[in-house]
C-alpha cells in the first residue's frame, strides 16, 4: 500500500453531498422545534422608542417575542479577539438587545419565535417599532474628517503601524516614484447557506448545531456570554454551507438562539435570512488605500508607503490588515504601513476571504505594474529582482517558491513575447490585454495547542477525531489521508470524526490554518498510536515481531512487518485480539511554533489573467487565468486545486462584480440580495489553470503544510486590473471595476 497523502482522493463526504442526505445545521429535526426570526433595526443610529407587540402576538403561532426589555443581560461583555486565538470570539465587542440604543442598520432589536417560518415572518412584520433616529455616519465620504490613527487592530493583537527606515527621505531621493490611491467598495461573504443555529436545552446544558467555521469558538463565546461552564455547552457541526470568513467569528444570533430556546422552553432554529446576511455577520469594510513606491532606475525598491483608511463600528478598532504582505514580499529598507479608522454606524467588519491581503496586494501589485511601465521593465523580472530571501525582520522564509511560481506561471500562461504596449490588440469590439501579479498570504501561528485522537478497534477499524469541523475545505478527506498514512492503514478502514466540541480540541479553521493545524495534530495522534502498537508488539512474547527494535518495524495496510524480513509480521487486529484488547487509542498534540519563530512565514504564488474589454461599453470579460502556488506539502492535489481555483474566482468577483455601499441618508446597505449584489455565475468563468510549486517546509508543522484557502484570491484581482490596463491603457483605481468604472475610471498609467 502506498501513501495516500499527496494523492487526488475523492471527497469522502461526497455521497452525502450529492444525494442531499448530509444534514446542515438548519436541518436538524427536534421534537417541538420552534422557528426564530431576528428583526433588525430600521435606522442606523438612534434609539428604540417603543415596540408594540399587540398585533404580532395576536397573529397566531407565536411562542415568544424578545426585545431589549426582556432579553437576559450577558454575563460578560464581549471583547473581539480573532477566533484563531482560541478564546471567546464574538464578532464585535457589543451584544444587542441589552438597551434601546441603535448603532447600525439591521442591529437586532427583536426576536420572534413561532411555530413555523411563515408565522415568525408574519409576526415580525407586525411588530410596530418606533425609533428616534439620529444622523448616521457610515461611509468614508461622511466620516473622513473624523478619521483617527489606529494603535492596534484585532483586539490589541496586531500593531496598526509598521515602520522602518526613513520612508519620506527615501521617497524624496527616489529616481522613480509611483503614487496611487484606490477606493474599494465593501464586500459580503454570501455563503450559499446563511448562518443558522439550532439550540436545545436539557436542564442546564445547551446543545447548539451551529453553522460555524469553529465549533470551539462558538462554545467559548456562548459559555462566556451566558455565564455557564464550558462543559455545559456542546456545539455540533457536521456540514457547513460555506463560510469565507462570515462564520469565523461568533455573531450575536448564536447566543440569541440559546437565549430564545430557554425563553420559550423548546428547541429553536434561528437562521439569518439572505438580506440579514448583509447586516448580521460582518463584511469586508469600505476602504481607501494609497501607496507610494520609490525605486532606482535599476528597479530596486527604495521606499514603500502604504496607508489604509476604512470604516469600522463604534465598538471596535477593526481593519483588515492591508500591509502584511507589502511590508515583506519585496525587500525594501524604508517602509511605512498604517491604518486609519472612521468609527461609524456599521457593525464591526470581519474576516472576508483573504482578509487584508486581497486588497493590500491589489494596491501593491497594481503599483508594481505601474512601476514596471515607468521603468520599461518586464513586470515579472521586476518582481523577482525585488523578492528577498528573508522577511522584513531578516528571518529566512520557512519556505519560498515565489520566483518559481512566477516563472512557471509565465510558461503555462504563455507570457513570453508579450508586447507591453497598452491598447494595441483588438478583436471585434474587444480590446485584449494580459496581466500578472505576485501573491503572498501569511502563516499565522496565534493558535493554542492542537489535539486529535486516534483509536483502533480489535477488528482493525479506526476512528480519528478532532473537534474542528468540515465546511467545504475538504478536511474530512485530507485528514482521513493523513490519519491513514500516519497509522499505516488503508483509508477504507478509517473514519474521520469532527465537528463536535466533545472531541479533542482543534481551533477554528480560519486564516488558511485549518489544514496545517489539523494535519499536525492528526499526524501526531496517528503516529503516536502506531508507535504504541509497535511497542506493544515487540514487547509481546507471542508476537512474531517480539524482540525487534521498533525502528525495524514498518506498517502498511494495518499490518506490522519486519523491515529485514517482510514475511515476519502480524496485523494490528491480531495483536489486539490476542491480547484481549478491545481497542487502543492515543492523543496527539501539536504545539505551534509561535508568532516569534525566527522565520519568514508566507505562502507564495503568482497570478496571470487575460481580459477582453468591450471598447464602447467597458464590459470586462476574463478569458483566461493561470495561478501557480507554493503551499508546502499538498495533502490532496484535487482538493487543493479546488480551493485555489475557488480563491482565484473570488478574485474575479472582487475585481469585476462585488461591491456594496451604505446609503448616506439612511445608513442602510444599498444591496441586500444576490440579484443585485453580484457574485460570479457559471457564465463568468474563464479558462482557468492551477499549478503547484512543491516546496519543503519543516517549520510549519510535521507535514510541512501551508494553507491553500486564501492565497488563491491574493493577486487575482490585481492581475485582472493589470490586464485591463494592458488592454485599454486605463488604470483602475476602484473595485469592483464595473463597466462604468472601466469607461470613466483611472487615467493613463
Amino acid at each position: 500500500m502506498s501513501p495516500v497523502v499527496g494523492k487526488p482522493v475523492n471527497r469522502v463526504d461526497g455521497p452525502d453531498k450529492v444525494t442531499g442526505t448530509g444534514r446542515y445545521c438548519g436541518e436538524i429535526v427536534l421534537p417541538g422545534l420552534a422557528y426564530g426570526l431576528i428583526v433588525g433595526a430600521a435606522v442606523a443610529n438612534g434609539r428604540v422608542v417603543s415596540i408594540d407587540e399587540t398585533a404580532a402576538r395576536a397573529a397566531g403561532g407565536v411562542f415568544g417575542i424578545m426585545t431589549h426589555r426582556n432579553t437576559p443581560k450577558v454575563a460578560n461583555q464581549p471583547r473581539l479577539i480573532p477566533s484563531l486565538a482560541g478564546q471567546p470570539a464574538p464578532g464585535e465587542s457589543f451584544f444587542p438587545m441589552q438597551d434601546d440604543v441603535v448603532h447600525y442598520w439591521g442591529q437586532p432589536v427583536a426576536l420572534v419565535v413561532a411555530d413555523s417560518e411563515e408565522a415568525a415572518a408574519h409576526a415580525a412584520a407586525l411588530l410596530d417599532i418606533t425609533y428616534e433616529p439620529g444622523v448616521p455616519v457610515a461611509t468614508i465620504a461622511d466620516g473622513r474628517a473624523s478619521a483617527t490613527q489606529a494603535k492596534t487592530l484585532f483586539g490589541g493583537l496586531m500593531p496598526a503601524t509598521d515602520e522602518r527606515g526613513d520612508v519620506e527621505g527615501a521617497l524624496a531621493a527616489a529616481e522613480v516614484t509611483v503614487d496611487a490611491t484606490y477606493h474599494f467598495a465593501a464586500n459580503h461573504h454570501n455563503p450559499l447557506e446563511t448562518s443558522v443555529t439550532t439550540a436545545q436545552w436539557d436542564g442546564d446544558r445547551v446543545t447548539l448545531w451551529d453553522s460555524t467555521m469553529g465549533v470551539r469558538a462558538s462554545q467559548l463565546t456562548v459559555a462566556s456570554l451566558l455565564g455557564i461552564p464550558l462543559s455545559d455547552v456542546r456545539v455540533i457541526t457536521h456540514f457547513v454551507g460555506g463560510g469565507f470568513g462570515s462564520k469565523a467569528m461568533v455573531w450575536p444570533h448564536v447566543t440569541l438562539a440559546a437565549m430564545a430556546a430557554r425563553h420559550v422552553g423548546r428547541p429553536v432554529r434561528l437562521a439569518l435570512t439572505r438580506p440579514q446576511s448583509f447586516t448580521s455577520n460582518g463584511h469586508r469594510e469600505e476602504q481607501e488605500q494609497r501607496i507610494t513606491l520609490g525605486a532606482g532606475r535599476d528597479g530596486r525598491l527604495t521606499a514603500i508607503r502604504h496607508r489604509k483608511l476604512s470604516v469600522t463600528s463604534p465598538f471596535d478598532d477593526w481593519a483588515e490588515p492591508a500591509t502584511g504582505v507589502s511590508t515583506q514580499i519585496y525587500g525594501c529598507d524604508n517602509y511605512l504601513g498604517d491604518h486609519q479608522l472612521i468609527h461609524g454606524n456599521t457593525m464591526t467588519p470581519t474576516f472576508t476571504r483573504a482578509p487584508g491581503e486581497s486588497l493590500g496586494s491589489f494596491t501593491l501589485e497594481t503599483a508594481m505594474d505601474r512601476l514596471a511601465y515607468e521603468l520599461g521593465m518586464d513586470p515579472i523580472e521586476l518582481r523577482i529582482m525585488n523578492h528577498p530571501p528573508v522577511d522584513n525582520h531578516g528571518n529566512p522564509w520557512s519556505s519560498d517558491g515565489m520566483a518559481d511560481c512566477l516563472r512557471r506561471g509565465a510558461d503555462l500562461f504563455g507570457w513570453a513575447g508579450r508586447d507591453p504596449t497598452p491598447g494595441t490588440r483588438q478583436e471585434g469590439n474587444d480590446l485584449i490585454g494580459t496581466g500578472v501579479a505576485g501573491a503572498g498570504y501569511p502563516v499565522a501561528f496565534m493558535m493554542p495547542v492542537q489535539h486529535a485522537r486516534a483509536r483502533i478497534f480489535h477488528d482493525g477499524s479506526v476512528v480519528i477525531q478532532t473537534s474542528a469541523q468540515e465546511f467545504g475545505i475538504g478536511v474530512t478527506t485530507s485528514m482521513s489521508q493523513v490519519g491513514a498514512d500516519g497509522l499505516g492503514v488503508d483509508m477504507d478502514v478509517l473514519r474521520f470524526e469532527a465537528g463536535d466540541t466533545d472531541l479533542p480540541n482543534t481551533t477554528s479553521a480560519v486564516g488558511s490554518m485549518g489544514a496545517t493545524m489539523q494535519s499536525s495534530a492528526v499526524h501526531n495522534a496517528a503516529t503516536t498510536l502506531r508507535n504504541d502498537l509497535i511497542a506493544h508488539a515487540v514487547n509481546d512474547g507471542k508476537s512474531p515481531l517480539h524482540g525487534l527494535s521498533p525502528s525495524s518495524v514498518k506498517v502498511a495496510d494495518g499490518r506490522m512487518t519486519s523491515t529485514l524480513d517482510p514475511s515476519i509480521g502480524e496485523s494490528y487486529a491480531d495483536l489486539l485480539q490476542r491480547n484481549r484488547l478491545l481497542d487502543m487509542e492515543a492523543l496527539g498534540s501539536w504545539t505551534p511554533p509561535g508568532m516569534d519563530t525566527p522565520h519568514g512565514l508566507l505562502t507564495f504564488g503568482a497570478q496571470f489573467a487575460e481580459v477582453a474589454v468591450d471598447k464602447d461599453l467597458g464590459l470586462v470579460r476574463v478569458r483566461r487565468m493561470t495561478g501557480v502556488f507554493a503551499p508546502g506539502r499538498v495533502l490532496n492535489p484535487k482538493l487543493a486545486r479546488s480551493q485555489l481555483l475557488g480563491g482565484m474566482l473570488w478574485g474575479l468577483g472582487q475585481a469585476l462584480l462585488e461591491g456594496n455601499q451604505i446609503d448616506r441618508q439612511s445608513g442602510r446597505w444599498a444591496l441586500n440580495n444576490l440579484g443585485e449584489y453580484l457574485v460570479p455565475v457559471h457564465a463568468d468563468i474563464p479558462d482557468i489553470q492551477v499549478d503547484f510549486v512543491e516546496v519543503e517546509d519543516d517549520v510549519v508543522g510535521p507535514l510541512g503544510v501551508k494553507g491553500v484557502g486564501e492565497v488563491g484570491q491574493v493577486g487575482a484581482a490585481a492581475a485582472i486590473a493589470n490586464a485591463v490596463f494592458h488592454a485599454t491603457g486605463r488604470r483602475m483605481n476602484e473595485l469592483p471595476m464595473t463597466a462604468e468604472v472601466v469607461m470613466n475610471g483611472g487615467g493613463p498609467g
Binding site: G20, T194, R274, H682
Partner: protein, 174 residues
Amino acid sequence: MAINQSTAPAETGLRGPRGEPVTLDVNGATYAIELEPRVSLLDALRDHLDMTGTKKGCDQGTCGACTVWMDGRRVLSCLTLAYSCEGHQIATIEGIAQDGELHPMQQAFIDHDAFQCGYCTPGQIMSAIALLREGNATTDADIAEHMSGNICRCQAYPNIHAAIREVRDADDGG
C-alpha cells in the same frame, strides 16, 4: 381543463387562510399534509416533509439552490406555491439515486470535485441533469449559460462544467 386529482376541495378552489390538506406527489410517492396557502414548495419539502436535500439559499429566486423538477422541468421551489403543485409531479435530489446507485451525474460531481461545501450541490445536479435533457449542453458556452441560475459560492464552476461534459459525452457515446 385542469383536473384536480387531490383530495383537497376542488369546487371553486377557495381555500385558506388557515392550514388545509394538500396532496403532493414527490419522487413518485404521494404525501398528504396540511399547509397554509402562503407556504412555498421549498418550505413544504424541508419543514413539512423533512426532505432537506433541496436547499434554501436566498428564498428570492436568485441562487438556484432550491432547484427541483416539476413535471420534468427544472423550477425554483422557493418561487413555487406548494398549493399550485397539486396534480403535478415533483422530483427532488432525494429521488435521483436509484436503489442506492448514484446517478451518473452525482458520480461525475464526486469524481471531478464539483463542489466544496456541498450546499448548492443538489440544485446544481438537478439543473445539470435537466440541462442535458433540454439539449442545451453542446458547447462549453451553452453549459455555462444554461447553468447560470445555480450559484456556487465556493466557485467549483470549472469542475461542474467538467462533470457535465463527462456525462454528456458518455450519453452521446452510449
